[in-house]
Symmetry: C2
Subunit: 257 residues, 2 copies
Amino acid sequence: MTETVAPTAAVLIIGDEILSGRTQDVNLNAIARFLGALGIDLLEARTVGDRQGQIVDALNALRRTHDYVFTTGGIGPTHDDITADAVGAAFGVPVAEHPEALAVLERRYGPGEFNAARRRMARIPQGGSLIANPVTDAPGFQIGNVFVMAGVPRIMEAMLQDVAPRLRAGAVVHARTIRVEGVGESAIADVLRAAAEARPDLSFGSYPFGFGGDGPIGTQLVIRGRGAAEVDAAEHDLSRELRYLGINLAVTSSSQV
Amino acid sequence: MTETVAPTAAVLIIGDEILSGRTQDVNLNAIARFLGALGIDLLEARTVGDRQGQIVDALNALRRTHDYVFTTGGIGPTHDDITADAVGAAFGVPVAEHPEALAVLERRYGPGEFNAARRRMARIPQGGSLIANPVTDAPGFQIGNVFVMAGVPRIMEAMLQDVAPRLRAGAVVHARTIRVEGVGESAIADVLRAAAEARPDLSFGSYPFGFGGDGPIGTQLVIRGRGAAEVDAAEHDLSRELRYLGINLAVTSSSQV
């Protein structure tokens, strides 16, 4: 069931390795697509380092202004994995070993191999519920409207499957893309602006391509909105206007992004 | 010349297409590496949509707390390119056509082809100076400690070359990576924690790999710091401790990230 007003979300990427440039983040894009399919509006993302004060401040700012917050990174067994403690501090609750997490991890490693570092991955802020990790078992957790997930992309994506049923879905956004080749943005800017002004409920984006030198230059025009019929009508009208200008349109396509 | 305290920086990624999941951002990583080579500490990044209020709030928060802010996106000719106006609003200054930008663009397009949409790309907040764009000529701009750049990666990277001479450099961070194969993080967490506690001036990161299923699992241990000799010594000591545990070390490598 969906409601009229779409839920909102923010993402908090945690990790020095992103800010040093060592690691190219791909989790934001995966979460964005996941939320798009659920009709949840992702409004903001922040990336912070492995510093508790910075994590706490960002998390408290985001969780008070969005329906959902998704964090990635910092829940492993090493000393630089401080997300659980930072989330506990943000919520003002203690962090302790969670019996269910302990059981899952002990089963994985066996009693003799379940060392202190591994036990560390069972530490969850009070009141948190687990997010299943089918790849390496070490769980993420949910507390309030915050979902705390791993930084390793394959694990993060698996965790999203356990998170999905806990979220309120919104009406899905429909997107239509008109691909215009051989014409730069500034040649079609006036027509695009008029189209956007005529339909204020929709968003009209313009994304140039081809500056890498391989292949033709051109522009992708993207119309997005929650009403499929209105999006289709806008695509029809804009295509007609572009043809009036003598512009050849390449394929149009539908998607959710 | 470098100073003792490293300059700090933040990045502001502007664009609905990042938050919808349509586009995978790669500019944050490129800026992070660029700043690393200059010894400037990138402390935070934010991604916001094409909404003026959101851009203004984020920019004002970031520019007051960091030495430099780098923005990407929203400086093209179409109606959804609102970054110049948002930056003007954040600084409380009017936005007007910049004579030098007008001249550059008019030269590119020729008088007959220099339409209103193209003139729009010459609009710069008062007091701003241009950032050269050798790819498509439409300039970025600097105002105060804020550098406003294009979202197209190839153009953004070209603009960084014009920005570099305007920045105060810091002492470069040296990084050494120890690659441990066949051993997960939790097997070496104690040794790593002890190493980190022994050298509080350095940062010790632990990044597992191999959960994609292709190739061995393992961990990359990364030691970072501004003193090359101390980083080397830490790498030497940590390698010795790992060998005591019977762990075979793969190649170690140096880098800046």
